[in-house]
């Protein structure tokens, strides 16, 4: 192999320096700190600490509350990703077919994107407020004994609903542009080859959207893992009894509210490992199948 040699100039390093600095300060350093702290046992006031090897990890992995949170996170993430992708795909396909007033539909469907997660959480809070929440009253008027303050499933439902609603508009934008990226003549060729519109969707449109869907799956899982923090913190705060606390929320609760820095750090290290494994898995095994 012949390699092209460029003159080494320091200028490019200056250009990337700010980015590297940001990554180092806000990601690498805290991550290193988390790894370091996860091996320490600190007293409640942070006056002294002791190196305890893997005891924090043992504690975390053997605690039932962490396991409960891990299971909730897995189920919650899967539901948020799956439901919001499904809904937004449906909306995008329908919006793509609309001819009259298409722009208004699309704009309205994208609006949710502008809402920050804590604001979405606040909206959810109001809608489900037991005193004046419209959705709270609606569900109860149907005869459900809906009470998300005491019932874990109801609380999980509320958090999932808000998280899905918040994410639908993002997915919608990507799906819509994905649909518009499919050449018109390909769709037309398909109408000559296949009469059933539903079959056409599953055999032509959906496979052609697969790269978009995969990308959104990664984005949505990341969103459900991390960004839903704002929604949870404003709406349920992990209640009742930690039933709606995702792993990230639990890290925050145990570390910053419970002042257990070592345990909290161990949790975040575990979280880092899980996300890395998940990402590798997604790219190794799924991405290969979706690109045509």
């Amino acid at each position: 192999m012949k390699r092209v040699q460029f003159g080494h100039s320091p200028v490019p390093y200056f250009f990337v320096a700010p980015q590297i600095l940001i990554i180092a300060i806000f990601f690498l350093w805290p991550a290193a700190q988390a790894v370091y702290q996860s091996f320490l046992l600190e007293d409640a006031f942070g006056m002294s600490s002791q190196f305890v090897w893997f005891r924090n990890f043992e504690d975390v992995l053997s605690s039932s509350s962490w396991l409960k949170s891990a299971i909730f996170t897995a189920v919650f993430s899967f539901l948020v990703a799956f439901i919001s992708i499904a809904i937004s795909l449906f909306l995008a396909v329908r919006a793509d077919e609309v001819i009259r007033g298409a722009k208004s539909y699309k704009t309205l469907l994208m609006w949710g994107y502008a809402v920050a997660p804590p604001v979405a959480g606040l909206l959810g809070n109001m809608l489900f407020n037991p005193l004046m929440g419209d959705l709270y009253k609606l569900f109860n008027s149907f005869g459900f004994e809906f009470n998300h303050i005491q019932n874990a499933n109801d609380a999980a439902f509320v958090v999932t609903l808000i998280a899905v609603w918040k994410q639908v508009s993002v997915n919608f934008i990507f799906f819509l542009s994905g649909l518009q990226g499919i050449p018109k003549s390909v769709t037309e060729a398909a109408t000559l080859d296949c009469k059933s519109a539903e079959r056409r969707f599953w055999t032509i449109t959906f496979p052609l959207l697969a790269p978009t869907t995969f990308f959104l799956m990664v984005i949505n899982l990341t969103y459900a893992f991390f960004e839903t923090f704002g929604i949870i913190d404003v709406s349920t705060k992990g209640s009742p009894g930690g039933a709606t606390a995702t792993l990230v929320y639990k890290v925050y609760v145990d570390g910053f509210l419970g002042a257990d820095m070592g345990g909290s750090s161990a949790q975040s290290v575990l979280l880092m490992i899980m996300v890395s494994v998940l990402t590798v898995f997604q790219f190794r095994f799924i991405e290969r199948k979706v690109h045509y």
């Binding site: 003549s185 390909v186 037309e188 000559l192 080859d193 009469k195």
Partner: protein, 356 residues
């Protein structure tokens, strides 16, 4: 085996634009019909209406004796080849060809036989397991043709299938299409803006302009007897020469430009103003200078087998083109005397543009 009939087929788009002004057409069984015209003339719209990709506003379209105005495209028993191939990128070439058959419930064995037969005809045997991206433009277009062939449809529709190919490949594919169509004997409608494709492929040619079929006929009929100024200028390259003239008092000739005469064998009233059309290849040089038209050389294009001479004549410097066999040299500004034969002269009404 099928015929296609259009009765006063009209198309008006939602925005009020009238793309087709009532087309009457009968395409016979096994006939290769070419729709030709400049962009925006409605030729693609017409094809897409036959395919069912565009709705028909008025009139009717029949395939055999069945009115298909409201029949779904997949039920019309037609197959279409698109300009940009329109292959399904996520499927192998085999799956691309098999897709239409699979959806119509053919057995696996039947599909396999048909796909492999088509692949053999189109020399795609070695590429069936690949995906369209791994093929060249010409090969992709062959897969698209294969997708149409395996269906054994009543009608083939071609929407400028060669426009995306380079010049050499275009000529090869043109011959291949012609061969294939003759071999399969399937009624075909072919849209193009390329008049060479139109002339060489067509059993019957339809020259379209602004949503109207200007002339329908065999390529030679259209070349020899263009029905209007538009057709005359569109078919033939370089384009026909048009000279404004007036019929002389004794009706024996037309006076053009600065008094040059072109003989006439039509019976046309004297003094009538008309347009005389002469194809560049129908002018000859006269040695003694007694030709009808004296013109000055402006530019020469030597193509080897033939030479195109661009000249101008008269005080208004009207231009005229001459096409000669072989290579020739003329000096710029040199005066040439051009003559033509009476029966190769086309006469058109100056107002309506119609052939006289």
């Amino acid at each position: 085996m099928a015929t296609v009939t259009l009765n006063r087929a009209e198309k008006t788009y939602d925005n009020g634009f009238k793309a087709l002004h009532g087309i009457d057409l009968h395409i016979g069984d096994g006939e290769f019909t070419v729709l030709v015209g400049p962009s925006g003339c409605g030729k693609s719209t017409l094809l897409r209406m036959i395919a069912g990709l565009e709705s028909i506003t008025n009139g009717e379209i029949k395939i055999d004796d069945r009115v298909v105005n409201n029949v779904a495209p997949a039920d019309r028993d037609i197959a279409m080849v698109f300009q940009n191939y329109a292959l399904y990128p996520h499927m192998t070439n085999y799956a691309n060809m098999a897709y239409g058959l699979k959806n119509r419930g053919y057995s696996k064995v039947e599909i396999d036989t048909r796909v492999r037969d088509a692949a053999k005809i189109l020399q795609l045997d070695d590429y069936l397991e690949r995906k369209p991206q791994q093929l060249s433009g010409g090969q992709r277009q062959r897969v698209a043709m294969g997708r149409a062939i395996v269906r054994e449809p009543k009608v083939f529709l071609f929407d400028e299938p060669l426009s995306n190919l380079d010049a050499k490949l275009r000529v090869d594919m043109r011959l291949e299409i012609k061969n294939l169509q003759q071999r399969l004997g399937i009624t075909s409608v072919y849209v193009t803006h390329d008049q060479v494709e139109a002339m060489t492929l067509a059993d019957r040619l339809i020259v379209m302009n602004a949503g109207v079929a200007e002339q329908i006929g065999t390529p030679i009929e259209i070349y020899e007897k263009p029905a209007s100024l538009f057709v005359a200028s569109f078919i033939g390259s370089p384009s026909m020469n048009f000279l404004n003239g007036t019929v002389s008092d004794d009706k024996s000739h037309v006076v053009i430009g600065d008094g040059s005469k072109i003989n006439l064998d039509h019976q046309i009233e004297s003094g009538r103003e008309l347009v005389v059309g002469v194809r560049p290849e129908h002018f000859t040089l006269t040695v003694d200078g007694s030709g009808a038209l004296k013109a000055r050389v402006r530019m020469i294009e030597s193509l080897g087998a033939e030479t195109l001479v661009y000249l101008e004549f008269g005080e208004k410097n009207e231009s005229v083109t001459l096409r000669m066999q072989g290579t020739h040299q003329f000096a710029k500004g040199q005066e040439l005397a051009l003559a033509t034969t009476t029966d190769l002269v086309h006469l058109f009404d100056r107002d309506s543009g119609k052939r006289l």
